[in-house]
């Protein structure tokens, strides 16, 4: 803990949103966290003073071994196009492509961390026909064929640590960096897609405030309605690996609390669904994507049973943008709900 860990943060084919999210870290703020964990920020594009020649000198010093690089963070995808040249992202003030610089630095770093789904798997930048031939550091979508390749291990013998998310929650990043700084992260702390299990062992569905609507299949049909968004509005919270509803965003928020669908942004290929994001694909009226670990027959049986038992309160409220009928009241306002 006495020794400072040098951290370098680079951005390539992304939006900078993970950095913006990270600046929202609270209790403590980002800089206090770095201080507490003994992390020495060599350079961050939004925060550091130095630019231009000083930056190039810094990279040279790392590559020549003069300066140790303990943690390399990349935010944004690695851009390989056009035609493998990497020319869609040239490093400013040099003839080098970011493709080249990222590979060189990754080979030198003790730990390599992909910040966000772009750096992890390609993400939004690789959507559509992937015009820039973007991929992640170790992955391209679900496949381990990113620029660093299947067998890549950093100097610490760890694979790339994929803090997936679009954007990442500030604490997913800070807690992973602290684990690394304290030498407390090993392969057992990563899931099969390289994500820290600290947040990826949970489902977005956990602690969703719309859970009662989910249980009774009382579904929203239009934006701003209060019902469950799984049946019609494309919500993937029952399948998405993240703790968004137990560890909230910007104080008291999450996608579902904000009234819109979870688009499973911590998953490879989330950017290319086979259907419009805000519509649930169905076969014979049954959503194609079932809740994680739930057998289909069970889901069908439970769904039809719970639909038949939906209380009028939930049926009404699910299609409204505010609570029309409070718990324990019947549909006729003010009157106590009677027994069935």
């Amino acid at each position: 803990m006495s020794e400072q860990k040098n951290l370098l943060w680079l951005q390539s084919g992304g939006c900078g949103g993970c950095s913006m999210s990270l600046l929202c870290a609270e209790g403590p703020d980002l800089l206090s966290m770095f201080e507490g964990a003994g992390i020495n920020l060599l350079w961050h594009p939004s925060l550091s003073e130095s630019c231009d020649d000083d930056f190039h000198q810094l990279c040279d010093d790392i590559l020549s071994g003069k300066l140790s690089l303990d943690i390399l963070c990349l935010e944004g995808s690695v851009i390989r196009g056009p035609n493998g040249s990497g020319a869609f992202h040239r490093l400013s003030g040099s003839d080098k492509t970011m493709l080249q610089l990222i590979q060189e630095l990754a080979n030198q770093a003790l730990h390599v961390v992909a910040i966000g789904s772009c750096a992890a798997y390609g993400g939004i930048t690789s959507a559509g026909d992937n015009p820039t031939d973007s991929c992640g550091l170790q992955y391209e979508g679900k496949l381990k064929r990113g620029v660093l390749g299947d067998n890549f291990q950093s100097q610490s013998k760890l694979p790339v640590i994929n803090i997936a998310g679009c954007p990442t929650h500030p604490n997913w990043v800070t807690e992973t960096l602290i684990q690394l700084a304290f030498n407390e992260l090993s392969t057992q702390h990563l899931d099969e897609l390289g994500r820290p299990r600290s947040y990826a062992d949970h489902l977005v569905h956990h602690a969703c405030p719309r859970n009662e609507y989910y249980e009774f299949k009382a579904s929203a049909v239009n934006p701003s309605e209060l019902g469950c968004m799984m049946e019609h509005m494309g919500c993937l919270g029952t399948q998405a690996h993240a703790d968004c509803n137990t560890r909230l965003w910007n104080g008291e928020g999450s996608c579902l609390r904000g009234g819109y669908a979870c688009i499973n942004c911590t998953s490879p290929d989330f950017e290319r669904p086979s259907h419009p994001f805000m519509e649930t694909p169905k076969i014979a009226g049954i959503p194609m994507g079932l809740p994680t670990d739930m057998p289909k027959a069970w889901f069908v049986a439970l769904a039809s049973l719970s639909k038949a038992a939906t209380p009028p309160r939930l049926r009404t409220n699910s299609r409204s943008d505010h609570i029309c009928i409070p718990p324990g009241k019947s549909a006729i306002e003010g009157k106590q709900g009677g027994k069935k």
Partner: protein
Amino acid sequence: MSRKIVGPFNRVEGDLEVQLDIKDNRVQDAWVVSPLYRGFEQILHGKDPNDALVYTPRICGICSVSQSVATARALADAQGISMSPNGSIATNLILGNENVADHLTHFYLFFMPDFARNVYSGKSWFDLIQRRFKAVSGSATKEILPPRAEFLHLMGLLAGKWPHSLAIQPGGTTRSIAIQEKIRIQSILQNFRRFLEQTLFADNLEAIIDLKSQQELDNWLDTQNQKTNPGDFAHFLNLAHDLNLCELGRASDIFMSYGAYEKDDSHLFLRGVWDKQLVEFNPDTISEDISHSWMDHQNQAAHPYKGVTIPLADKSNAYTWCKAPRLDNQVVEVGALARQMVNGHPLIRDLVQQSGGNVRNRVIARLMEIAQVTIAMQNWIGEIKIKEPYCEHGKMPDEAQGFGLVEAARGSLGHWIRVKKGRILNYQIVAPTTWNFSPRDINGVRGALEQALLNAPVMEGEKNPVAVQHIVRSFDPCMVCTVH
């Protein structure tokens, strides 16, 4: 003549390189290079129109909400619907939240640290400024991060999260709030206002927005300088005076604003163009030229509805991925200064009357907006009627087109969409920094920053001209939006 290539520029959002010709300690010519291309307009082709609501915020992590609003408006225009009154107010609150947070981030994290550089170590104000604004280690950074984060709790309550929300829809917002959220938001705004009044301005917000002329501003500064703890605004004004920042970074002095914070068919900050006088803004006269961009398949400048985005990396005579937008063939400047010129804030009009668009005036306009928009947000939250609808629902026709205009923190952002057979046929985005950091056009006319850099001073032996750093950052550039 020596050629200097400056890059990477940090403390701008995204990637930037500037090429300079320097002679006799002055910048003789400048080329602004955006070195990153991601291809959002290509990605959007063929997608379900509503999917744009997922993709476009992810163009940019710092203007994410502005991108959402531009998409929502373009879709609403194509569908022929408009937002419900509550949805419209909530959208203004969410957008105001992002824009004010961005202005604050720009001032404290991106702009001011350049004055703590060693090049200024001989200045009388250096010790104070270095202690306060030194990148990462200055007292201000640590001090502003918690109130900034708390201010952005509005996003948690109104938009689910920031950045990259799906809460803003063509017909309004997805998050209905009740009395408890309304009260929470009022409290957050009160607390944020307290922070501004103690730390940034050391005065109440009304006193700031009531300043009417340079003379009044000078008098106000004199009063601040008598205080034991003047605010950070006063620190800036003092060093701006000492360094003559009002003589640095003048561009075309034609200012454009799409109009900001729309409500009941009007705007808090008016729509228009300032070219020595106020003239009407006509979106039909917008065009994008690709003569100096690494772009292909467009023979002449085209209106965004007809614009094409096909990259060509090895095009000769081109030097950037950025296209060159023009308004009626003219180079315009966008941003807070432009908005306040168009809207007619007396102090800003007087400052520009005396010294034009420049580094100092751009920063003053931005801080002025922090005060104005925070007050407006406190009014808006009171206007939410909690049981009224938040979102209208429309349907996208199979064939349609529409456009959406919005003011991001750093200026005018527009989206143009054409839909065919229910899918996106063409989607074109013209972002604020596309305007400000445009390359030359077919007539060789330089973009706004390229003009602003001409004649910038270079100190003896200076490897990395600090004046260039100030001029570039005074525009609050967002490079990820610029090219997208």
